[in-house]
């Protein structure tokens, strides 16, 4: 069953000889990897264009002055980084529960898959709710595509590039989280309908897991670049 052998060189020679998968991985999983690679270039292009525009401009808003609000905080309370760190930890934790779901799937542990998928979905919805609140708050301050109420860190007038990039990139990431939640809900329903028990494997959970981790991975970059740098 297992294709791994301890001696590498004869294995290497026969790897492409046919009769077995040279990647010893399932087709759908390999294709998910290639999809994620193309998606990484899409996000990379977005973030690099943000960097290029920022480098070509003399001033830029200070993220600690822009993202300083917190739900239910009284007026005038400024808490830079606090809200976004909560969002970051929500996504990290939902990523961990996804790993646990994949792990349970490998052991054919249906109840473990169901429990961890539910937790992952809750984490995804919590993240989306946080983002919805943040967008709504920024919009109430006058920020939107084409509208930038914030000044540069040095007090000079800022362009709309800042808000355009912020809403486009976090929006594109939020859309990925949204589709990830949908995929996870479908996976949960399929698990509950015993689809994977009938197939004899939980590979679909692994593929959904790859996508979900990628969403977390992109947030690592978006969070660092927009809120910390």
């Amino acid at each position: 069953m297992s294709t791994t052998t301890t001696t590498a060189s004869p294995n290497e020679a026969q790897l492409w000889g046919g009769g077995k998968s040279p990647f010893s991985s399932e087709y759908g999983k390999v294709m998910m990897w290639y999809f994620l690679m193309s998606d990484a270039f899409t996000f990379g292009a977005f973030l690099i264009s943000y960097g290029t525009v920022r480098f070509s401009t003399n001033g830029w808003p200070n993220s600690n002055e822009v993202f300083r609000s917190f739900p239910f905080a009284p007026e005038g309370v400024h808490a830079p980084l606090v809200f976004v760190s909560i969002m970051t930890f929500i996504l990290i934790i939902s990523s961990v529960t996804m790993v646990l779901a994949v792990h349970a799937g490998k052991n054919m542990d249906k109840s473990g898959v169901v429990r961890n998928m539910i937790l992952t979905i809750i984490g995804g919805i919590a993240f989306l709710s946080c983002q919805a609140w943040e967008w709504n708050h920024l919009h109430s301050e006058g920020a939107w595509w084409g509208m930038n109420p914030f000044l540069n860190a040095d007090g000079t007038a800022s362009t709309t590039n800042f808000t355009n990039f912020f809403f486009t990139i976090t929006g594109f990431h939020g859309f990925h989280v949204f589709s990830g939640v949908l995929i996870n809900i479908i996976m949960l329903i399929m698990t509950l309908l015993n689809k994977f028990e009938q197939r004899g494997h939980y590979l679909m959970i692994e593929k959904a897991g790859l996508y979900w981790h990628f969403v977390d991975l992109v947030w690592v970059f978006v969070f660092t670049i927009f809120y910390l740098l």
């Binding site: 990897w33 990290i92 006058g142 692994e206 981790h213």
Partner: protein, 160 residues
């Protein structure tokens, strides 16, 4: 039969230990990033800020590595598969370097040859809540909705 069963259990324990380890690493790195971010708020030295930003980028790359290698399990895949993923991503080295260089060069060019662009970066703008400034540029597109609210729109029309 019992032998393979204990093998399975040992493998499970190993996998769980790995998940735990990576979770702790990701959390600790994130906390360090946040501490550096909080520290940076009060700093004024540009060189120190740049050093901290460099550290944050390194931590970001380390987090990305742990997510891809362990959570996405790439480290446990066959070497051929790893290479087909990692080698194309090497394009990012050029992508980031070339484009940031280009952006920086464009700023320098504009500061050298475009006096208006350079001047814009020296004019301080008052926030709206502190009274109207001397500029009377009106952004007709948004004024009807936005003027009534307590918005803090800059008075000058910025130059892109």
């Amino acid at each position: 039969m019992s032998h393979s069963h204990t093998d399975q259990e040992a493998h499970n324990a190993e996998a769980m230990a790995e998940i735990k380890k990576v979770t702790i690493i990701l959390s600790v790195f994130t906390i360090i990033e946040l501490i550096l971010g909080f520290w940076m708020i009060s700093l004024t030295s540009a060189a120190l800020k740049l050093a901290i930003k460099g550290t944050i980028v390194i931590l970001m790359m380390a987090k990305a590595f742990y997510i891809v290698a362990y959570f996405m399990h790439l480290k446990h895949e066959v070497k051929n598969l790893i290479m087909t993923i990692v080698v194309p991503l090497m394009l990012f080295v050029w992508f980031i370097g070339a484009f940031l260089w280009d952006g920086n060069s464009f700023r320098n060019l504009r500061n050298d040859y475009n006096p208006y662009f350079k001047e814009q970066a020296t004019i301080k703008v008052e926030k709206k809540e502190e009274g109207h400034g001397e500029k009377h540029e009106v952004e007709s597109k948004h004024e009807s909705v936005e003027q009534s609210k307590e918005t803090t729109k800059p008075e000058a029309t910025p130059y892109y």
